[in-house]
Symmetry: C2
Subunit: 275 residues, 2 copies
């Protein structure tokens, strides 16, 4: 396990860091970002994972959300993976919603994707071990949040690891990927046509189980992708327990302007469950 | 005077807008951004100008600073011009510190720059008239802030219009352009070799006058451009009145992570003088 610090910026008293490493799981060089709060009091600090949406890298959230103010305020470390394996030798597609930048946080089983597209194992195993070694005074408490495709990722990873993640939240998530065009296209490519194999990567299936972490979802009413890709009805109908808070916010779209506006609510929700 | 709204995003309750227009002063199409707070109480609101640094457009501050939270909190409109004239027919240079993206907020007199590079007149006249028409319930009170080359712009425009701007602030500004490489190169190109003509565009000369607005400057100690381009000694020595607050902040660099961290201090400073 080795990694190289390639950028470090002081930000709101803490440090915004960027690392490169060779991923044994993805078989390629990867970049991730990590924020460490100042932790002036030397306390145990929790770790919040952020998963980004289609076309993003770890830079979008680091540069556009203003999250560092909140991570320092609440004294939480924040880990930001990339959204897919990367590189010239890694399978890709001309479309922006498949291949590089569109890993969908699952483990692909189909060619040409199966060798590299194992974002689920990368995040829950390899990057988890790295995070543990990079966060000083880590309390062991973790939660996960994300946006759009990354909202799908946060829901799936959080629900599949209900004992590990204390809270899940999402901005405008793909909550029923097997039912909407982005998800159907990606699942067919990465997992094949047999829809039985899709269920373990579909939050609207996973949420049927008992004992799931508390979930907060925020969705803008002016989101250009809402009607086609982000409808929540199926997901909410399937939720077994009364642990999903779903909020619609008037006039907001799908952009980081929307995320930045409501990020403080999400941090407060996570910290309530992480302490 | 005509302009076209090309983007609008709800952000922290207000609206982040982006416009295109043909500038009669610059003889080219230009883009600018404007934030309007929600103004739920229907009060008179002030206008803060933001001037960006080398290589930036109006997007950098809009997307990376998180300023919308503060503009809404303090109920101020914020106007963000581009950093130079733009377009294929507009003179340019291969270097990133001259030509497009590097207008230095002055009125050029030399060829091939004189036709288009009139950023001073563009901002203080043409864009001022547009801003007045776009800000509802405008109180008439204005102030100006900026970063690096835009810090130079804020100081020069603020000091040359001391009766108009109630406060000036800057992050890591070029405060003595006639003395440092970026400024010498740009002034020689835009204004010619006669250094007498440089004085009216040099904040360290303008600050010798009496009756200047209050000035706040914040500078990071890890700024990679500090020693070569941003030294404050000459500027502070020339300041006639005791109205400059100059703060060095430990460990911060030249990036938007630095700006975002200290932007609330600058907004508070401006609002104290704008009310």
């Amino acid at each position: 396990m080795s990694f190289k610090l390639i950028e470090k910026h002081r930000s709101f008293g803490g440090e915004q860091c960027k690392y490169r490493h060779y991923s044994e799981v993805l078989h390629c060089e990867m970049t991730f970002s990590l924020y460490l709060p100042s932790n002036k009091e030397g306390k145990k600090i929790p770790l919040i994972w952020w998963l980004s949406g289609l076309t993003c890298t770890d830079d979008n959230f680091s540069q556009k959300s203003g999250f560092q103010r909140l991570a320092e305020k609440y004294q939480a470390a924040v880990m930001i993976p990339d959204t897919s394996p990367r590189g010239e030798h890694v399978a890709d597609d001309e479309a922006w919603d498949l291949g590089q930048g569109a890993g969908f946080y699952l483990n692909a089983t189909q060619e040409p994707w199966a060798k590299h597209y194992k974002m689920y194992s990368y995040i829950t195993e390899e990057l988890t071990a790295i995070a543990s070694s990079l966060v000083p005074n880590f309390s062991g408490a973790e939660s996960i949040m994300g946006h759009s495709m990354g909202g799908h990722g946060a829901l799936v990873i959080g629900l599949k690891n209900a004992a590990r993640f204390k809270a899940i939240s999402a901005f405008a998530p793909i909550s029923s990927p097997s039912q909407i065009p982005w998800g159907i296209k990606a699942f067919a490519a990465y997992l094949g046509e047999d829809k039985a194999s899709w269920k373990e990567w579909d939050a609207s299936e996973l949420v049927k189980e008992a004992g799931m972490p508390p979930i907060l979802i925020t969705q803008g009413t002016q989101d250009e992708f809402y009607s086609k890709h982000l409808d929540e009805t199926h997901f909410l109908n399937n939720a077994r327990e009364n642990n999903v808070e779903y909020n619609k916010v008037e006039g907001y779209d799908h952009s980081y302007f929307f995320i930045a506006t409501f990020l403080e609510d999400h941090f407060a929700f996570h910290m309530k469950h992480l302490r």
